[in-house]
């Protein structure tokens, strides 16, 4: 079990390359070894954990199947690992709240079976997820607990990971004195154990703290020390990161030449290892330095290269930043530069405007209000200069609005930070490294940093996790907001769809009644109409509500089946089977969910059979999901008939739409799956288990 060391080790790509073979062999094992025992669970768990770095959706699926396997074979040990694996994947997907819940389950299980080290690992990872959610107090609490366990067990790897994380949280809170303390402790520990990787990382982080404290000479010294170790280990990616960071500090020192030199070195390495994110970051930083040196053409080209790579790897935010920086450069550049850029001077404003507009679109997509506000500011200035006051005012207003959004976002984080600071203050720890005055200076320095791109990029590089998690949180926040806005629309669309089901239903039944009358089966017609009236009443009532108790839905399905049984007598038999532990009165499901699928099974499965067939509906729970399975032993798929998925009635199309909207509304992954049976067809509807009480 690897401990997830966040941030410092932004080496996801290098791991992926190195471990391709591991992944392949695991996949092979998973395919070949199918005995339901702890060995298979181990393989599934490892696979899931490996995948959490690259393909978290697959990783989650493996974790899920491992969880159900472990429950079947009653292995708490493997089950704990499976939950851990699931949490890792959830965290990669940005679903940190859910990740925490799963870590918690894993923690409880490990506690139960007395696996203390694993408990520590869970706490450590929970801390990281809390950090991603900006719950710094909780994060610190978890890391501190984890640290205590690791120390007690004399587990050095864990101890340095926990110290490292504590340092990172402290750094985020601008509490540099504590950050540096943690890093030094980690450094001491690593030195005692001769763990050169951790030594180098600690040195690098200490360097970053000094950079943030504006003690730039010290920063360079520490970073160089780290660099030397990375070089001894020939760890290219880290060497590149170190070069990048050193370049960044030189930039701060107003030594653009030196800075460029180091960026160039970083770039060469990143190019060798094809690390695109690194390459793009180097280019964008170089662009900024080149502009300082008034080398506009080179600067513009560097930014251009950065932009196209970010665009290629779908890093939207950084792509936006490259556009915005390009626009700023064009607006500031002297006229003489333009011919070499292939842009005529007269186009200066229009090209810049387009760049800014594109950036604006990107940032509103990613929900980065801070950047949006900046872009609006740039546009506003541009319009003002060109005398277009109307547009300038409009943009000024936008800017203010975005600013407010940023403030709301930041408020929560600020409160957390204050709370943490209070906690730190009450601890009786003396500042050892930096003095209080420096701290005060730092606050304003930090604010500046926020808007200084160069600083931002450097930090991002060394602390890939910082940026990724921040962006992820932003994205998630944005998605949630959008979902809220959409709720009303979705509700009304859902209602409209539910209502569309009614006439469809009615006419089908009326058709049957007509058939009976035509065949002079008056008694059957009479029985049928009475049932039909009942069903109609139920459908009308249920379709008023977005969700109904499962019991009601099953009752109307049963009634529908009994109607069809009358019509097809004696061809159709049916059964409805619900897992005894489920309380159908308390489980809520979207109303009118089953009927279209049952109908499809009858029309395409049972009706063509000469001897009749069986429809079996079964309801099962697995984890937090409800599985509704509709089986028929009917005609299934054959060459002369349209493929299974194509025989979709109007009602099924509506149902698919409803599920899609349902997912949008509840941010979930309900699904409908078709499976070919021999003979027959199975439809599996998977929806989240929702209880009324």
């Amino acid at each position: 079990m690897r401990i997830l060391i966040l941030i410092l080790l932004g080496i996801v790509t290098s791991i992926a390359n190195g471990e391709h073979n591991v992944l392949d062999s695991l996949l092979k094992q998973a395919q070949q070894y199918r005995v339901e025992d702890t060995n298979r669970a181990s393989v599934l768990n490892q696979l899931s954990i490996e995948l959490s770095n690259s393909d978290f959706e697959k990783g989650m699926a493996y974790a899920d199947s491992s969880i159900s396997l472990c429950k079947r074979i009653n292995s708490d040990i493997k089950l704990a690992t499976a939950y851990y694996a699931k949490a890792r994947n959830l965290s990669s997907d940005g679903q940190d709240s859910l990740a925490i819940a799963n870590y918690q389950i894993a923690y409880d299980l490990n506690k139960k079976i007395g696996k203390e080290l694993a408990c520590g690992t869970m706490l450590q990872n929970m801390g990281i997820s809390f950090y991603n959610l900006s719950y710094y107090k909780k994060a610190t609490e978890m890391h501190t607990k984890a640290l205590a366990i690791f120390k007690k067990l004399k587990n050095e790897k864990g101890t340095s990971a926990a110290l490292n994380s504590l340092g990172i949280v402290a750094m985020e809170l601008s509490d540099y004195s504590h950050a540096i303390e943690y890093y030094f402790e980690s450094l001491d520990l690593a030195k005692r154990n001769n763990d050169s990787v951790v030594i180098a990382n600690a040195l690098m982080n200490i360097g970053i703290v000094y950079k943030n404290l504006s003690d730039l000479n010290k920063a360079i010294t520490y970073m160089n020390n780290a660099l030397r170790i990375y070089q001894q280990q020939s760890n290219d990616l880290y060497i590149a990161k170190a070069f990048n960071n050193i370049a960044n500090v030189y930039g701060e020192m107003k030594q653009p030449g030196k800075s460029l030199e180091y960026y160039q070195k970083a770039l060469e390495i990143n190019k060798q290892s094809d690390y695109e994110y690194g390459i793009a970051s180097n280019y964008i930083n170089m662009g900024i330095e080149l502009r300082q040196l008034n080398r506009y053409t080179e600067a513009y080209n560097a930014l251009d290269k950065a932009g196209s790579i970010f665009r290629k790897i779908d890093d939207k935010n950084n792509y936006g930043i490259s556009l915005k920086t390009k626009a700023a450069l064009l607006l500031a550049a002297p006229d003489s530069v333009f011919p070499s850029l292939g842009i005529s001077v007269s186009q200066r404003n229009s090209v810049s405007k387009n760049l800014l507009h594109e950036a604006q679109n990107i940032f509103s997509e990613t929900g980065d209000y801070a950047s949006l506000s900046d872009v609006s500011d740039d546009l506003c200035n541009m319009f003002e200069k060109s005398g277009d006051y109307k547009n300038a005012l409009e943009l000024y207003k936008q800017r203010v609005a975005y600013r407010d959004c940023v403030l709301i976002d930041e408020n929560k984080i600020e409160v957390e930070k204050l709370e943490m600071k209070y906690d730190y203050a009450t601890r009786e720890q003396e500042l050892k490294v930096a003095n209080i005055q420096k701290q005060a200076e730092l606050k304003s320095e930090q604010l500046k940093r926020k808007y200084t791109l160069a600083g931002g990029i450097a930090l991002m590089l060394i602390s890939g996790g910082f940026f990724v998690s921040y962006k992820r949180r932003k994205d998630a926040l944005h998605k949630r907001k959008e979902a809220e806005l959409n709720t009303e629309r979705i509700e009304s669309e859902l209602k409209a769809l539910r209502l569309q089901m009614n006439p469809h239903f009615m006419f089908n039944s009326l058709n049957s009644i007509t058939n009976f009358i035509d065949q002079h089966k008056t008694q059957t017609a009479s029985d049928y109409s009475v049932k039909f009236a009942k069903l109609m009443r139920m459908v009308l009532e249920n379709s008023e509500n977005p969700e109904v108790p499962l019991a009601d839905e099953l009752q109307s399905t049963e009634l529908y089946l009994s109607l069809e049984a009358i019509r097809l007598k004696p061809k159709l038999t049916y059964s409805i089977d619900i897992e005894s532990s489920l309380d159908a009165e308390n489980i809520m499901i979207p109303s009118m969910l089953l009927q279209p699928f049952v109908e499809n099974s009858i029309i395409h499965g049972i009706t063509p059979l000469s001897d009749g067939g069986i429809i079996s509906i079964s309801i099962r729970q697995q984890e937090q999901w409800l599985y509704i399975t509709i089986d028929d032993n009917g005609a299934g798929i054959s060459p002369d008939k349209p493929a299974l998925t194509e025989r979709k009635s109007m009602a099924i199309k509506i149902s698919n739409e409803r599920i899609a909207l349902f997912n949008e509304r509840h941010q979930t992954h309900a699904s409908i799956e078709y499976v070919q049976l021999n003979p027959g067809t199975r439809v599996v509807i998977k929806i989240p288990l929702t209880l009324q009480f």
Binding site: S526, V530, A533, K534, L540, D583, E585, N586, L691, F693
Partner: protein
């Protein structure tokens, strides 16, 4: 044998019942006549003194309620028949009066007639009808509750909470009274939907007018005026607080 009349403005509805009734063996129904307007119905009843009236709700431009108002000391039982009239159904349920939905189901008809045969207490019938008439078009004050000794009318405002007990429901009333009713909690929840009742839990429906305090917790719990405490399901907490806040 039970003497009955049918009052309905639609001939085919009358025909349906006329076809079904001879099939019923217990109790045997003797049909004394049918009517298609309220006025005809009134004279039909005064002429034959039936024990049972099948009464449609909407009869041309009048209602079955108009007919009942015109006969103040009704000595007959009523089974309402209606196709789809949500408000009327709610009123019937409230007074524990029987009704049949059209088209009439033979089994349901049989069940309703068995009940007619069993209850012969005329004073309860007139109370049911008078409560029904009071309640039509307004929010009824009392709810008819079927008990072992017949139907008892309980003021809604005296119900503190309803507690589920399988297919039965315990009513906890003001003055430390208690009743056990053979209705599900869900039925009570539906009946009392327009009042200040709230389902706080799988097994408890609470009259929010009797809430003394709310104690925080995962779902938390409510303290009621009768000093009982009722657990709140964590899924209901948010909505409960919203309701309590708006009161």
């Amino acid at each position: 044998m039970i003497k009955a009349v049918i009052i309905d403005d639609e001939q085919h509805c009358i025909d349906r019942l006329c076809n079904l009734l001879p099939e019923i063996k217990n109790p045997v129904i003797q049909l004394s006549g049918t009517a298609q307007t309220v006025d005809e119905g009134i004279s039909l009843i005064s002429k034959h003194h039936p024990q049972l009236v099948f009464l449609d709700v909407q009869i041309a431009d009048k209602t079955g309620f108009d007919l009942l108002k015109a006969i103040p000391d009704a000595q007959f039982q009523v089974i309402f028949t209606t196709a789809h009239d949500r408000y009327a159904l709610q009123a019937f349920r409230f007074c524990a009066l029987d009704y049949l939905l059209k088209p009439v189901d033979a089994d349901e008809l049989q069940a309703a007639l068995l009940k007619v045969n069993a209850s012969k207490n005329n004073s309860v019938i007139s109370e049911q009808i008078s409560e029904l008439l009071k309640g039509v078009g307004t929010k009824p004050r009392k709810i008819g509750v079927p008990t072992l000794n017949g139907i008892v009318f309980v003021p809604v405002s005296e119900i503190i909470r309803c507690h589920a007990d399988g297919n039965y429901t315990e009513l906890h009333l003001a003055g430390k009274k208690q009743m056990v009713v053979s209705k599900t909690l869900k039925e009570f929840e539906n009946l009392l939907a327009d009042y200040s009742f709230f389902r706080v839990h799988h097994s408890d429906l609470v009259n929010l007018d009797y809430v003394k305090s709310y104690n925080k917790g995962k779902g938390g719990y409510l303290m009621l005026d009768d000093n009982s405490s009722v657990e709140v399901s964590s899924r209901r907490k948010e909505e409960l607080l919203k309701k309590l806040g708006s009161m």
